[in-house]
């Protein structure tokens, strides 16, 4: 049977003849690379260029008692010592640019360091060597504090707090839970009906992107009170907006010039070198280069974060997966950077490209005293995909099935309902498996060979959102007071059920939100129609599908009956708001000193 490829999605956008493999092709940038003419940020020469180096923490976790930079300041060639107080708005979180998460990271840390290599001070000198020698001459009186390097240790009630903004060592999801929930159907029922239970644990180490060109930027004063910045960033306007916010400067005064990125792979979006270089130029009035050396790139350059996944599958005798449960941990390191987003993205990917009627997951974004993690090639997906596909092999072994046939049997087909309540479209896993098997001369059964992504999908249960079991375990701060199991549904004090809901045919109908945090925020979505608030008794209105999945809780939208009543008072988490918890933190004084939000979060938007 001829294989049908699904190319219609991009039919008008590219010539998709798929004849490139094995053909000699010239990369568009290769001529510049081999002739040495590709311009990198460090190729820009400036008269009187100054060099900036950081004084960094040698500890995983320590309080700064005192810093003596007197000797360093007097050393030859030193132009300026840069203190945390020199940073106009010394607090940021990368995704504040899309209003996700709270500011948690200082450009230069004033009071408490939470990972090895965290910068506390910078030296600007005439030569790189002088900057290095002066940085080495700075005396810091450290008070080492207990640290935590393991995601599960960090969740224990007595674990040291890593990130003062998130005192529970977990990112707060939807102002409600310490993890991202996904509930679809009833996994316990699926496990009861299964013939095999297959469990697996999968761990991924951090991976450094290791670009040949280390991160860096050169900034210089320009005419008309502007600053020019040559940078290796992967996200030029992202870096520009971050710089504008941290330095409290209008983005119209920043002239950012990118160019060749000497290897990025996600490791050049964190926008640290650009604000540092511009700050240096602003403080000295001279051109300043801030460039990480190789050791810094390896030690403080944010890697792909470590992940830990536990998967439990309930499998029928014929290989059909009836229930799949995930418990996932993203090691964010000491600060949020982009890991909070990776968790949401990863959750939207569960349970992998397979149609499974019962799915539940708890995924945690955990703060530890490790180097902050960031983007790297498909982050949020790559790790859990590794786990899922290892698990599929394990399931095949347990069920005594061929691993490719198992995948074809369980694969998404067009029209199937995915666990995050979107219809599967343009599915092609079955066809990929068939082609891969053919290429490897791997025998397939006639049924597997005859299978197609375009048939048998979206029929009956495959198209429907099942009755779904919910729970309210793991509210923000709850885990801080008592040890709680981390897997979905475990330790549930109150469990609810959400009736089987929307068929795919009426997926465009959105019900009014029952609780306030489900209400659409017009400011975020740009939606200008009617907004249903909880006290509205209005009938369902037809609305366009939301365009911001990041902001959207993956928890099911309850229909009937209304959500279960709050648990009784003893167990009811009447939680102190995060801000109140933070008041006990020794950094409170420092935070109180912070200026009000920057006027210049980006060139076009103001912060609320």
């Amino acid at each position: 049977m001829p294989v049908e490829f699904r190319k219609d999605l991009f039919a008008n956008e590219r010539d998709d003849t798929l004849k490139e493999i094995g053909q000699p092709r010239i990369r568009q940038d290769i001529l510049g690379h081999v002739s040495g003419r590709s311009p990198y940020y460090d190729d820009h020469l400036f008269e009187g260029l100054l060099h900036m180096r950081c004084v960094r923490s040698p500890h995983h976790h320590a309080r700064i008692r005192h810093i003596d930079a007197g000797a360093a300041e007097r050393m030859p060639g030193v132009v300026r010592v840069v203190w945390p107080a020199d940073v106009p708005h010394n607090i940021n979180t990368l995704l504040s640019l899309i209003n996700f998460g709270r500011d948690d990271e200082a450009l230069l840390q004033p009071s408490r360091v939470t990972y090895i290599g965290e910068p506390v001070l910078a030296i600007i000198a005439k030569t790189e060597r002088e900057a290095r020698e002066a940085a080495a001459a700075v005396r810091v009186d450290w008070e080492p504090l207990p640290h935590v390097l393991d995601v599960e240790e960090a969740l224990k009630p007595d674990a040291p707090t890593v990130n003062g903004e998130y005192p529970n060592n977990t990112f707060d999801y939807h102002d409600l839970y310490d993890h991202q929930k996904l509930r679809f159907g009833d996994v316990e029922k699926g496990f009861r009906e299964a013939d095999h239970i297959v469990e697996g644990e999968y761990r991924m180490s951090p991976i450094e992107q290791a670009p040949i060109e280390t991160c860096g930027a050169i900034a210089a004063p320009e005419t008309n009170d502007r600053y020019v910045c040559h940078t290796a960033t992967q996200g030029l306007f992202f870096s520009l907006a971050v710089t504008a916010k941290l330095l409290d400067i209008a983005s119209s005064r920043l002239h950012f010039i990118g160019g060749t990125v000497g290897g990025g792979f996600g490791g050049k979006v964190d926008s640290i070198t650009e604000p540092m270089a511009v700050l240096g130029a602003r403080l000295t009035g001279q051109p300043v280069k801030f460039m990480w050396d190789r050791e810094e790139e390896m030690q403080v350059g944010a890697p792909r974060g470590a992940e830990l996944w536990r998967i439990k599958d309930g499998v029928a005798r014929d290989g059909r997966i009836l229930a799949r449960q995930f418990t996932g941990f993203f090691d964010s390191g000491a600060y949020t950077r982009l890991s909070s987003y990776a968790v949401v993205k990863g959750t939207g990917h569960l349970p992998g490209p397979y149609t499974i009627p019962n799915v539940a997951s708890n995924v945690y974004c955990v703060f530890t005293n490790r180097t902050p993690a960031t983007a790297m090639r498909g982050f949020g997906i790559t790790g859990v995909d590794f786990a899922i596909e290892c698990q599929m092999d394990k399931v095949a072994e347990a069920a005594g099935l061929d691993p490719i046939e198992l995948r074809i049997l369980n694969a998404y087909r067009d029209g199937d309902m995915k666990a995050h309540r979107r219809e599967a479209k343009n599915c092609a896993l079955i066809e990929c498996c068939q082609v891969a098997a053919d290429k490897a001369r791997w025998p397939l059964s006639p049924q597997s060979r005859a299978a197609s992504s375009m048939t048998e999908g979206g029929v009956g249960w495959r198209a429907e959102i099942p009755e779904t079991v919910t729970d309210q375990v793991g509210r923000i701060g709850e885990r801080r007071r008592q040890a709680l199991p981390s897997e979905p549904g475990a330790g549930a004090a109150a469990t609810g059920r959400v009736a089987a809901g929307m068929r795919r045919d009426d997926r465009s109908v959105e019900l009014p939100p029952q609780v306030a945090d489900m209400a659409k925020e017009q400011e975020r979505t740009g939606y200008s129609g009617k907004v249903d608030l909880p006290d509205h008794a209005a009938p369902a209105s037809v609305q366009p599908a939301p365009a911001t999945p990041v902001q959207r809780p993956a928890a099911p939208l309850p229909t009937q009956p209304p959500p279960p009543p709050p648990p009784p008072a003893g167990t009811a988490p009447s939680l102190p708001p995060a801000a109140q918890q933070r008041a006990d933190d020794p950094e409170a004084a420092e935070q109180a000193r912070r200026r009000a939000a920057s006027r210049f979060i980006s060139g076009t938007r103001r912060r609320r």
């Binding site: 030859p76 790189e128 060597r129 290095r132 020698e133 080495a136 050396d293 050791e295």
Partner: protein
């Protein structure tokens, strides 16, 4: 601190100018890194304008000036047995600069060439004319004066074997290297010398394995005991490339492949 570069006419003069704040720069593959990173306490760089770099045969031994580069070794007819060792060091740019003398002082996990010299009964000649066997030199190399030249035994064909185990090929840093001088191979061997690189702070000899190989034929049964004592006397450490545990586990595997002269992994 200002950095000064002092150029001398001879190694002896450079040696006389050495103090705690100075380093002798030969090829620069180690010293330049420290200079670029402004390692504290290093403010004087000593060099010699045209250091000798001759390779000479002296009876059963071969002599090399300390300034001989890895590229020189690869090109030399007399030192052909060491060409595979020199080729395992760095990439072409590094081999053009890196010297035999510098390799003697390369800290773990570098120093694969020195492991070969240790296996070949190397002897170090200092600028003051004193000589010292390689093993004694390595034990106290931090206090050594400048090295003028090195001599080593020239093995007969098939008597010298070298393996470098690296995770990245062809330019990776050693998980370990093994050099073996096997007089008599492939028949009964005698007076065997085996040296491991990256299995301790300096290249180290596997004396226990050497002893039990005396008079043995290099086949599976002949080397069995040597493999069981292969790691005696070695002192591997954990580093970014491999743990000490892993190094100890795989050392006998790689030694077996070397002694049986199995094809190295691609």
């Amino acid at each position: 601190m200002t950095l000064t570069v002092e150029t001398y006419g001879t190694l002896a003069e450079a040696n006389a100018a050495r103090r705690g704040d100075s380093r002798y720069l030969a090829g620069g593959t180690l010293v330049m890194r420290d200079l670029n990173y402004a390692v504290p306490g290093l403010s004087r760089v000593l060099r010699v304008s045209n250091p000798p770099r001759a390779i000479r045969q002296q009876g059963e031994r071969l002599s090399m000036d300390a300034g001989v580069t890895m590229a020189d070794v690869i090109e030399s007819r007399e030192a052909a047995f060491l060409a595979p060792v020199a080729r395992s060091v760095g990439g072409p740019a590094v081999r053009n600069m890196a010297t035999v003398g510098g390799n003697l002082f390369a800290a773990h996990p570098y120093g694969d060439f020195t492991a070969a010299l240790l296996a070949l009964d190397g002897e170090v000649q200092f600028v003051d004319g004193r000589t010292q066997p390689m093993e004694a030199f390595l034990a106290e190399r931090d206090r050594a004066p400048l090295v003028a030249s090195i001599t080593m035994r020239m093995p007969r064909t098939g008597e010298f074997r070298f393996r470098k185990v690296a995770r990245v090929k062809p330019k990776g840093v050693s998980v370990m290297s093994i050099a073996a001088w096997l007089p008599g191979a492939p028949m009964r061997v005698s007076q065997v010398r085996i040296a491991f690189g990256a299995m301790g702070p300096t290249p180290l000899r596997a004396r226990a394995a050497e002893q039990v190989l005396e008079g043995k034929v290099l086949d599976a049964s002949g080397i069995e005991r040597a493999l069981s004592v292969a790691t005696q006397g070695l002192a591997p450490v954990d580093d970014a490339l491999a743990s000490a545990w892993y190094r100890n586990e795989v050392a006998p595997v790689h030694l077996r492949r070397l002694l049986l002269d199995e094809e190295p992994e691609p």
